[in-house]
């Protein structure tokens, strides 16, 4: 993985390329390790891009056993107990109206909760303070990960 800057600056954009699923996991883990309070990670990327792998990494950094972290596509929300409570959400099967029934707003308000949302573009908006993580397919084993931190106000995706 190429060297990455820290995520401390609001609106800073970080971009790097991972060359295996392990590296994508590791990128997630490093971010997870640094999380110590409410955090919302909005993940976007095609089918097979590695969103769940990245989420497993974040979970691992939060002290959750990554083998417990599986795709929430069917169950929609999986809850894990780590250093903080982790809500792992997947909007793959939903459209914008469907997202309203999930009760995400209540989760966003929880000050001690970490929320990872796969297929976040289906949410239709960016919750305040959320971090955008885009995972793009570069080649068979390469992925470009773009992380945009600290959207301070609501905006549309």
């Amino acid at each position: 993985m190429e060297e990455s800057s820290t995520l401390e600056d609001a609106d800073a954009v970080e971009e790097f390329v991972t060359r295996s699923a392990e590296e994508t996991f590791e990128a997630g883990r490093r971010i997870g390790e640094r999380i110590d309070k409410r955090e919302i990670l909005l993940l976007s990327g095609d089918l097979g891009a590695g969103k769940t792998v990245f989420a497993k990494g974040v979970a691992s950094g939060l002290g959750v056993d990554p083998t417990d972290v599986t795709s929430p596509s069917f169950t929609l929300i999986n809850i894990h107990e780590g250093r903080l409570v982790l809500y792992h959400v997947d909007l793959y099967r939903l459209d914008r109206d469907g997202c309203r029934g999930l009760g995400l707003e209540e989760i966003f308000e929880d000050d001690s909760a970490v929320t990872i949302i796969e297929w976040a573009e289906r949410l239709g908006y960016v919750p305040p303070g959320a971090t955008l993580v885009e995972i793009d397919y570069v080649s068979d084993c390469e992925r470009r990960i773009t992380i945009q931190r600290g959207k301070s106000s609501e905006s549309t995706l």
């Binding site: 699923a21 795709s71 029934g101």
Partner: protein
Amino acid sequence: MIAMLVLGIESSCDETAAAVVEDGRVIRSNIIASQIETHAPFGGVVPELASREHLDRIGSVVDSALTESGVTLEEIDGIAVTEGPGLVGSLLVGLSFAKSLAFVTEKPIVGVNHIEGHIYSVVFENPPVAYPALALIVSGGHTTLFLIPEEGLYAVAGRTRDDAAGEAFDKVAKLLGLGYPGGPVIDRLAKSGDAAAVDLVFTIPRMTPPSLDFSFSGLKTAVLRYVRENKILPVADRNHPDQVIVDLAASFQDKVVRSLMARLRKAAHRYRPQTVILAGGVACNSALRQSVAAEDFGAPVYYPSPVLTTDNAAMIAAAGYPKLARGEDHGLEITASASMKLDNISLEDYEERHVQPSAISYQLSE
């Protein structure tokens, strides 16, 4: 002895269901109202729709289950209701309804794990389950291999590390433009496809032997890669897909079935079960059934008929029966448990006491 009648109620996902079951293994009625048509335009479940639909239907579904069984609410001996895992909003509809019935009739009520329900879906059409049993539950949300040393005790012997098998079917079907749900359509196409015509190369996560865990995410990505590299377009006419799509469906299904079979075979070798159970939505898959039927596990394989592989309340009533028969009453405090686990004994402890080290194969090949 007078028969024990259990009213089962299930609303964890797409189906609103109620059933009356006698003595834990005779179905007196089994009513299932499916939301698949409601959800089809969205390609899946819409939670808000799901709870609303459950709410609209639960009353009439329970009524029909009682009417069809010829049993009155007063004659019911106990109520079994799904408490998890599932969508909280959906689970709450069934739970609240069941609890109000229990309150009004002053009957005992027990909460049932939905997955335990699937395991009990085989009790109606097969001889009694002998223990230890091995159960492979494969559905849209789950792919788990359970070791069941005796009734009511569960250890997870293997589970998916990423996508559930049914989820992989749904995602691949969507990728190929085949619609939702993906399982039945891929199963149908695969029958006229040539699995060998499409070589899907995929990796699974590194697992420490003797792990029996599953992984289907890499296979999904392999299908995606094949589609990209060969510039395959989603089908225009679902009734007449190109041969390459048909072959791709066959190859994908073949890989899923092989993966499931390999773990099941190893587990049977390791735990020497008296019964092998195959249940959950994907247990309907004809190729999986054929493979399982052709295999000698040293124990009979029980699976439910198709209507009982989907979510239903008869299986919930059957799973609740032994609890109610023991005199359990979980009372009105039962709440929905979205991420409920079915794992109440340690696999390591069991293996230490019951498994010969030689039965544990460290081979990585399948």
